[in-house]
Amino acid sequence: MREFLDMGGYAAFVWPAWGLTFVVVILNVIWARRSLARSREEARRRLAMRGGES
């Protein structure tokens, strides 16, 4: 395990590169889902407002 984490002396390069990629992948999933949730919420609010007027 120690050896694996050490990456043959390249740990300081391999792990940040993989870590950054992992973080951005997860962030993209969160951003996309949040964007959809927000749009749905806005659409619901618009419908509710229009319902109140009529």
């Binding site: 694996f4 390249y10 993209n28 964007s35 959809l36």
Partner: protein, 246 residues
């Protein structure tokens, strides 16, 4: 020729429902492919004879660089379709993918920089491929900035689309930069022009799986963001009531 499919694709309610149905079919295979490729690329493939364990950065650098170009082509082609056929959904696709492309272009630049440290002895070099990849990031950011700075949604779509279409010229430049110029960046390793294989076949497996995983992930992200865009753009349409379930 039957053009029904084209008209269907231009219909926001149809796109909204189709995207919702398709998302898990791309999202879950993407997750499996990325996880398997991660284990394969980090733990199973043997170290490189020159770069040792450091070469494993290729498994995140090359796929994100591939994403930066593929997403841009998606954006450029959608923007062109939106301009030519005045198709609202096409503009929605272009607007949906821009932030995805920008984030992965940033990762491609950053992982390349990290890789350059130990292998080239420099984190940054004004090398053709790196410079044009940086320009790609600015094109994405320019599209997003331009789009959000124009109040009228249709004018925002069309103006930003012109930038996206003009910018597609940069995609082949990035791709062929290592062939056209004497570059510090290495030449392609999977597909070379003469069909010669430069990479150990054992190393290629996880790379191809990563490329597939990122492509599937991109489609799932696009479908999710597209639904959000379509909802945002269709302010008055009656189908929305059904779509958001209120």
């Amino acid at each position: 020729m039957d053009w029904t499919w084209f008209h269907k694709l231009a219909s926001p309610p149809y796109i909204y429902r189709l995207s919702a149905t398709l998302t898990p079919w791309f999202g879950w295979p993407a997750a499996v492919a990325l996880l398997v490729a991660t284990y394969w690329g980090l733990a199973i493939v043997p170290a490189d004879y020159q770069q040792g364990e450091g070469f494993r950065i290729i498994y995140v650098h090359a796929p994100t660089a591939w994403m930066s170009l593929m997403v841009y082509m998606t954006m450029g082609v959608s923007a062109a379709i939106g301009l030519i056929w005045r198709m609202k959904v096409a503009h929605a696709v272009a607007a949906s993918v821009a932030p995805i492309g920008a984030s992965f272009t940033f990762v491609a630049l950053a992982t390349g920089s990290i890789w350059g440290g130990p292998m080239w002895g420099t984190y940054w070099e004004w090398d053709p491929r790196i410079v044009f990849e940086l320009l790609l990031l600015f094109l994405y950011l320019g599209y997003m900035g331009l789009h959000s700075s124009i109040e009228d949604p249709q004018r925002a779509d069309r103006t930003a689309a012109v930038l996206a279409v003009v910018g597609t010229i940069n995609v082949p430049i990035v791709h062929f930069s290592v062939v056209w110029w004497n570059s510090l960046h290495q030449a392609p390793t999977i597909m070379t022009l003469d069909g010669q294989k430069n990479m150990d076949p054992r190393m290629v497996g996880p790379l191809l799986l990563m490329l597939a995983g990122f492509t599937l992930l991109f489609i799932a992200l696009l479908l999710t963001r597209l639904r959000a865009e379509v909802l945002r753009r269709e302010r008055t349409a009656s189908w929305i009531r059904e779509a958001v379930g209120s």
